[in-house]
């Protein structure tokens, strides 16, 4: 065994975990670890604001499935990570956030740049640690990665006092963790899975409702086999988009507040709802008492027992890892020949849903309009990328247009802030994604409001030559706020109009390229040119403020209250 400082132990432990990239920002209390970092092979991305570091780590984690790592200093540095950590917690994203802390002798003394980040992040981390003794450090980092990436993934914070980073001890990285209070259930109960298959067989209108858990569990192939093998239609939550290929006829797209008429009508009529890695969020269910009113049986597969029967009472809960549970389910399904007799019934049900879709498609074609429409932007984006790209979005109307209209063919292609709804997520998440997958095309779709939160990370993208293409759907308004004010606040637009900078000049000032598109005729050619331009590019596309995300179920409303354009 070698004698190492705490700072060296951090770096050795990160290397042992296979960490190749760290997002961070140095400062007083973390300097010993930054000093040790300089001697390692780990790549460091210097961000411009700590929140950016966390979203980059989230983008990295969503694309790779590995934990994203963040390294920041104490006090303001640590506190600036909180929004990102809460975002990762809501969207089950594995992170290990290492924060410097004032020396142990100063803790609680209102020392310079002191904050109780462990106390602050207790409700928004999966777990967090204050390291008081360098002898515990290796074990704690091992546990942090284990907790972050197993079970339902989530962020783990390790608060590291400066004197602990400087103290020395003999170091050997532990081989395994022993946590008697943490044993995620991986294998689903076989009798429950059997019951679920019974319920599906009995049903005439089964519907798969899939969320982000399918992607975290890498269970898209199993989902595909189950859905296509039986012919059961699939609707995805915002976080589930990409788990099932958009080009497949069984794919119904997003449900909920901005789901299509056909999809939400299917939810209203299903007699057997099969929820997989989804959590019955209020944006999905609307008014709980009116959600899936005809479902005689709700099956819920999830790794997190606390997600089950939280919002909606579930008839057949199955706690376990989705990939594992679906594999068992497929085995049962294949051995049961009687299921084949049900397929014609389910095909009729699928045809009925497609009929509803035809009755009220998402957006009607509007030819000959003089302005650029959101539909045109998404279609053009699809054309220019040939549909093969990772899209990171911010939060608002543009996010919903992407979710409704872009046909995601494979998992881990849409990075978006679903649970927390964090404006400013998109650009840094896109940077993190591009660093994780340099061979993929990465596009950030944002709005004029969202992009101005964390626009400083454009400097990071330029410094490291990160090739992200940023589309700004610019309507000089906080568009979604405006839409709610129009619909629910008597068109009283209280502080939602916004002056915006000249994004072309702004891009140039950062050392990036900027384009502006104002007329439909310019859209195709300029987009093509922008995407051909190497390095980070801002594309400012002007759309009218009257464009709305439709249809819409008012918050807390029922399906029957759906508003249409």
């Amino acid at each position: 065994m070698k004698k190492l400082t705490g700072a060296q132990i951090v770096i050795e432990s990160l290397m042992a975990e296979g960490v190749d990239i760290v997002f961070g920002y140095p400062g007083g209390a973390i300097l010993p670890t930054y000093d040790a970092l300089l001697d390692s092979k780990i790549r460091h991305i210097l961000v411009r604001h700590e929140q950016g570091a966390v979203h980059m780590a989230e983008g990295y984690a969503r694309v790779t499935g590995k934990a994203g790592v963040v390294l920041v200093t104490s006090g303001p540095g640590a506190l600036n990570t909180v929004t990102g950590i809460a975002d990762a917690y809501m969207d089950s994203t594995p992170l290990v956030v290492i924060t410097g802390r004032v020396s142990t002798s100063l803790i609680g003394n209102d020392a310079f740049q002191e904050a109780d980040i462990v106390g602050v992040t207790r409700p928004c981390t999966k777990h967090n640690y204050l390291v008081k003794d360098v002898k515990d450090l290796g074990r704690i980092i091992k546990e942090a990665f284990y907790i972050a990436t197993t079970g339902r993934p989530g962020p783990v914070l390790v608060d590291l006092p400066k004197d602990v980073q400087q103290a020395q001890c003999l170091f050997k990285y532990p081989d395994k963790v022993e946590l008697r209070g943490y044993k995620p259930v991986i294998k689903g109960n076989l009798r429950q899975i059997e019951r679920a298959v019974d319920a599906i067989e009995r049903s005439s209108k089964p519907l798969l409702y899939v969320g982000g858990g399918v992607q975290w569990s890498n269970a898209a192939p199993e989902l595909f086999e189950l859905a296509t093998g039986l012919g059961i239609p699939v609707t995805e939550t915002l976080m589930g988009l990409g788990s099932f290929p958009a080009s497949h006829p069984l794919r119904l797209g997003m449900l909920g507040m901005h789901g299509s008429y056909g999809t939400n009508t299917a939810v209203c009529h299903t007699d057997c709802l099969i929820a997989i890695g989804a959590r019955f969020d209020d944006r999905v269910t609307g008014r709980i008492s009116d959600f899936a009113p005809n479902a005689e049986c709700i099956i819920h597969i999830d790794i997190d027992p606390s997600s089950i029967s939280k919002n909606v009472k579930v008839d057949i809960p199955i706690v376990g890892d989705i990939k594992n549970v679906l594999s068992d389910m497929l085995r049962i399904v294949k051995s049961r020949e009687s299921l084949a007799k049900r397929k014609p019934v389910w095909a009729k049900w699928h045809e009925q849903i497609l009929q509803w879709h035809r009755e009220k498609p998402l957006y009607e074609r509007r030819d000959g309009v003089s302005h650029i429409t959101p539909v045109q932007v998404i279609e053009e984006l699809h054309a220019v990328t040939k549909g093969d790209c990772i899209i990171a979005t911010d939060v608002g109307q543009h996010q919903m247009w992407v979710a409704q209209l872009f046909p995601f063919e494979r998992p881990r292609s849409l990075l978006t802030s679903g649970g927390l709804g964090t404006m400013g997520y998109g650009l840094p998440a896109g940077i993190g994604a591009k660093l994780a997958a340099p061979d993929r095309t990465v596009v950030v779709v944002s709005g004029d409001g969202s992009i101005q939160m964390n626009i400083q990370e454009l400097a990071t993208a330029v410094e490291y030559g990160v090739d992200v293409k940023v589309i700004i759907m610019n309507n000089y308004f906080l568009g979604m706020v405006r839409q709610w004010q129009e619909k629910f606040y008597n068109e009283r637009y209280s502080y939602s109009a916004m002056a915006v900078p000249d994004f072309v000049k702004l891009a140039a000032a950062f050392g990036a390229h900027g384009f502006r598109i104002e007329r439909p005729g310019e859209l195709s050619a300029t987009m093509r040119e922008a995407f051909k331009t190497p390095g980070p590019v801002l594309i400012d596309i002007v759309i009218p403020k009257e464009e709305e995300v439709m249809p819409m179920i008012p918050p807390g409303g029922a399906m029957s209250e759906m508003l249409f354009a």
Binding site: V118, G119, R122, P123, K126, H127, L130, I147, L179, R180, G181, Y182, D304, P305, S306, I308, S309, K310
Partner: protein, 174 residues
């Protein structure tokens, strides 16, 4: 709202209590009583017993979230279980020569102990479930209570379960 006595076995480490009570505080739930102690047989773990009131389905959710906390090893909600519950109270009661005999008879009826005697007050130790403790307070209140301190409830499941869940629930609902 039903009263829940919840026992939580946790790692005996700093910060764990804050995580546990934080789940209640975050939802605006008051904790009516709380006891925490190192386990005598295994000092690496600690047992928290707390009493709270709330709708059953929300407490079920809190229990699941308690189980999700990494340092929490086991959670038991005694709501549907026959238990022995005890708390202990020290109460300093005013007394004079005229009513000393009357107080003594109340104390012995409650199997309390006098643990301190002064010229104008005695301090009594009483142990029992919450109802017994409250009954004792009601009886000695006319004497004049100078000071009172109570522990939280501790609870244990009975070896033989007679009135299990359903009956108990019916009683509480009525």
């Amino acid at each position: 709202m039903p009263r829940h006595t919840i026992s939580v076995l946790v790692e005996n480490q700093f910060g764990v209590l804050a995580r546990v009570v934080g789940l209640f505080a975050g939802r605006g739930f008051n904790i009516q009583s709380l006891t925490v102690n190192e386990e005598p047989l295994d000092p690496t773990v600690s047992k928290i017993v707390l009493v709270t009131s709330g709708p059953d389905e929300i407490l079920e959710q809190i229990n699941k979230q308690l189980n999700k906390l990494i340092p929490v090893i086991k959670v038991v909600d005694y709501q549907a279980v026959d238990t022995v519950e005890r708390e202990m109270m020290l109460v300093k009661v005013s007394v004079d020569d005229r009513n000393r005999a009357e107080l003594d008879s109340i104390i012995s009826a409650f199997r309390g102990h006098v643990v301190d005697i002064g010229p104008r007050a005695v301090t009594v130790e009483v142990t029992g479930d919450t109802n017994k403790i409250q009954a004792f307070i009601a009886l000695v209140r006319p004497f004049g209570i100078k000071e009172v301190v109570r522990t939280g409830s501790v609870a244990m499941a009975r070896s033989v379960q007679l009135n299990n869940g359903a009956k108990r629930q019916a009683r509480e609902d009525s």
